[in-house]
Symmetry: C2
Subunit: 142 residues, 2 copies
DNA sequence: TAAATTAGCACCGGTTTGGTGCTCTTTCAA
DNA sequence: TTGAAAGAGCACCAAACCGGTGCTAATTTA
């Protein structure tokens, strides 16, 4: 539990990189040259992020991806939600529990789930990029 | 991400039931008669909890399982840790990141992981049993 | 000794996950 | 108008993970 999939890690890395690179559009090729992540896979991931509206895509020469919004406004919760689907902390909690009619944890577990989700909602891409309490971010090597 | 496995849900249900049943030892048979969870699987789960020292086991007739400690002192974090192994939020965070030498999220992601783990450490079995803010727990039907 | 119980281990089928191949569409520039 | 540079879409594969079961000990009580 509580482990990001590779897709999400790759996606975060790309988003973080885009946040620092800023400005113009950056192609998958360019990103993977700076990040070494499997190229085709990252393409798939960015496509999803594009469909979800987190990044903007432009095709053709000079095209690529660009953040659609301010990194300080983009929460980890949204990103994870896009790349891994809606969080289902426990069957119990989602209302369609078929584990047991006599389940003993329905009550408490919902609160735990809410607290966890709140943490993810509380972090923004910007904070992921800059690290805890304003640690200096290395400048993009490109 | 952030989804309990069935093993953990079952384990929690059993622990919660044991917390309420209290006192003597309760066999897997007895527990599953009250919880309908696959018997053999719950046996496996309780064995793990026993090896980890969260419950006490006694074999033979009249034997079974019993909580080894106060439900108010047993954190969700420990339970999840036993049943799902140590939490690895991201490869990055555990020091052995092989995703990229130029990873851009190492810095920030650690803090997120710590916050998430803190939430789990903050909840105890007792709170899971009683639900948010002292909702009345149904008495065991046995 | 017989029955009740946990312990240990191997196994199986289905789903998820990481990753790739191939083709199509869009766009720009020569 | 043509060619190359990009993203879009879809199908596919191998490996890992997960829920669940079977079978056989080992331990304990009566």
């Amino acid at each position: 539990m509580m482990r990001l999939t590779r897709r999400t890690e790759y996606g975060l890395m790309a988003l973080a990189w885009l946040a620092r690179a800023g400005g113009r559009f950056h192609s998958v090729r360019e990103i993977t040259e700076n990040l070494d992540v499997p190229r085709r896979l990252l393409a798939e991931i960015l496509k999803d992020l594009s469909q979800a509206g987190l990044v903007e895509a432009v095709r053709g020469p000079g095209g690529g991806y660009r953040l659609r919004e301010d990194p300080g406004r983009l929460t980890l919760g949204r990103i994870v939600n896009v790349l891994e689907g809606p969080t289902i902390f426990a069957e119990c909690y989602q209302g369609d529990c078929d584990l047991s009619p006599r389940c003993t944890i329905k009550r408490g577990i919902g609160e735990v789930a809410r607290r966890l989700e709140a943490v993810l909602e509380d972090f923004t891409l910007e904070e992921v990029v800059h690290g805890p309490a304003g640690a200096p971010a290395p400048s993009p090597s490109s």
